[in-house]
């Protein structure tokens, strides 16, 4: 356990020393600042309360997607160098020659990355919720659930990056992970459009992608928890086209899917641990 915590703390410290925190902080501050400006102007428009909630819901989901993307990029390109990079450069040699199990080392790395990535997205999301709340007086129905799902989405992507970085080069692992994240999101949007059009085959694209990589599924759950329950009705209801809109989600996450996402993380991490344990350094 000492090894896991030591490596996790080292990973968080690496992120902060490598100025990733600074870069993310500047990007986040810029995004939050710009959205604050936009929401302040929105408050000055003569909108009905329903319209204001609808616009705030959509914009909040849009900004949160921006945070997800920043977190995905930041953490994917941090996870690659910290694991595959350390193995390639020789930094891992002296550490793994200590009385350390490779699985414990990998768990420490993963937990450190998850703490960093999920911590970032939760804090940035919380800042955005406060901005929206104070400017247009819109408070999401389930902010805690939404933020936790955003954090879980980052954890899923990080687990995938950890697996990739045990088998491919640092840069390739980051590129593949971010590529898959974006592809899954697009597949989710395509699936939602298929659903709203009543086309089962197209809808299935989204369902399959959510099974293969649960980031989009968790993201849709987060959106649902961020958005105003009346937002879907404004678009004619879930069955009448609201689902086709990329920044609205028609349904909340089911416990079964959450359980599947947890199982997915455990399985993928287990594969990563197996690959890393058998790797010749």
């Amino acid at each position: 356990m000492t090894v896991v915590l030591t490596v996790a703390a080292l990973t968080v410290r690496e992120a902060s020393r490598r100025r990733v925190v600074l870069a993310l902080g500047v990007l986040t501050a810029a995004l939050v600042g710009l959205s604050a400006l936009g929401f302040t102007r929105l408050a000055g428009e003569s909108l009905t309360s329903g319209e204001a909630r609808l616009v705030a819901s959509i914009l909040l989901n849009l900004v949160m997607f921006g945070f997800s993307l920043v977190a995905a990029l930041g953490t994917a390109f941090l996870a690659g160098p910290t694991l595959a990079g350390e193995t390639e450069s020789g930094t891992a040699l002296s550490m793994l020659a200590r009385p350390v199990r490779r699985s414990a080392f990998l768990l420490g790395k993963t937990l450190g990355l998850v703490a960093f990535g999920s911590g970032f997205v939760v804090l940035a999301g919380l800042a955005e919720i406060l901005v929206v709340g104070t400017t247009v007086d819109y408070w999401p129905p389930s902010p805690v659930t939404a933020l936790l799902l955003l954090g879980a989405q980052t954890a899923v992507l990080l687990t995938l990056t950890v697996l990739l970085s045990t088998v491919v080069s640092p840069m390739a692992s980051g590129v593949i992970a971010v590529g898959l994240f974006c592809t899954t999101w697009v597949a989710g949007v395509v699936g939602a459009i298929g659903g709203s059009l009543g086309n089962d085959a197209v809808e299935r694209v989204g369902s399959i992608s959510r099974i293969l990589l649960p980031t989009d599924g968790l993201w849709r759950g987060a959106m649902n928890a961020f958005q105003d329950p009346g937002a879907l009705a404004a678009f004619g209801g879930a069955d009448q086209g609201a689902g086709a809109f990329p920044f609205l989600s028609v349904s909340a996450l089911t416990p079964v899917y959450l359980g599947y996402a947890a199982l997915w993380v455990a399985m993928v991490w287990g594969l990563a641990a197996l690959a890393y344990s058998r790797k010749d350094l």
């Binding site: 000492t2 090894v3 030591t6 080292l10 410290r13 690496e14 020393r17 490598r18 450069s89 020789g90 930094t91 040699l93 002296s94 550490m95 793994l96 020659a97 200590r98 009385p99 350390v100 199990r101 058998r278 010749d280 350094l281």
Partner: protein, 288 residues
């Protein structure tokens, strides 16, 4: 690797020698659980090497040494002390840095260090958790002559404290000065092993001869390996038999050979190593 068997005792320094690709670093990595062997057995301080706990008393300086550039040397040592599960005070860690010549640099960023300073830090990492067995893989590859002398002193100090040391180095002179025993690897096999006295036990005679007959050449070949350069011949002779040289000269004179000069030659470890490796290459070439 095939049939590689070696042992490093407490208070003993064992040198690993061999050409590039002989498997020296691979042997070390197998010992430390960094490379998985297909089979065989390795024990670290009495415990199976596959158990991570067996590495608790081991200090290792890898050939490819690199430490977190965003940490300070003091932080790198603190990290390794924690990973080793050892209790080492801050003062001891500072002393360890001073031993490797990094006194006063403990709070600088490792990223700003030269290769030589990083290798010195690597030595400190290998020594910091009070190891009972130290593995040094090319410990002086980036060091200046002063640094090499420091490493020699450190290795001799470790030996005097009863620490077992496995030293892999291309610098034969370095190995000759500090090692009690040497293991020569070639193409994944042990080509020779023994104490320096055993390995260097063979002597050579350098002879200036004219009028050499076929019979005389056969007599020389019966004595030992012959290497010829014009009228000068070098013959390997057993170290423990003082009568060989006079008997050989007497026989050569008896066979009508003119003996102009006879010089005893001491074989250096480098010559011996080259001899072993060339013999191995010749044997392989002779095999169908």
């Amino acid at each position: 690797m095939h049939d590689v068997s070696l042992q490093v005792g407490r208070g003993e320094v064992v040198g690993l020698l061999g050409p590039n690709g002989a498997g020296k670093t691979t042997v070390i990595k197998m010992l430390l659980g960094l490379v998985r062997p297909d089979g065989g057995e390795a024990l670290l301080l009495g415990r199976p090497a596959a158990e991570p706990a067996a590495r608790a008393g081991v200090g290792y300086l890898p050939e490819l040494f690199r430490y977190q550039p965003w940490l300070t040397p003091a932080e790198v040592l603190a990290l390794h002390v924690r990973l080793a599960g050892a209790a080492v005070t801050d003062a001891e860690r500072r002393e360890c840095l001073a031993t490797v010549g990094l006194a006063g640099r403990g709070d600088d960023r490792v990223g700003g260090f030269s290769k030589g300073m990083q290798q010195r830090l690597g030595l400190a990492v290998a020594l910091v958790a009070r190891p009972e067995f130290v593995v040094l893989d090319e410990p002086t590859s980036a060091l200046d002559p002063l640094g090499r002398a420091d490493v020699r002193d450190i290795v001799l100090d470790l030996r005097s404290r009863g620490v077992a040391v496995l030293l892999n180095s291309h610098l034969i002179g370095e190995v000759e000065r500090v090692c009690d025993r040497v293991v020569v690897l070639d193409r994944g096999r042990v080509a020779a092993a023994g104490t320096l006295a055993e390995l260097l036990g063979q002597r050579e005679l350098r002879l200036h001869l004219t009028g050499l007959t076929a019979e005389a050449e056969a007599r020389l070949a019966r004595t030992g390996g012959v290497h010829r350069e014009g009228d000068w011949l070098t013959v390997a002779v057993p170290a423990d038999d003082e009568s060989v040289a006079p008997e050989l000269v007497r026989a050569l004179v008896g066979l009508g050979v003119s003996v102009h000069a006879v010089e005893p030659v001491r074989i250096s470890l480098e010559d011996r190593l080259l001899g072993i490796l060339r013999e191995g290459a010749a044997d392989r070439a002779a095999q169908p």
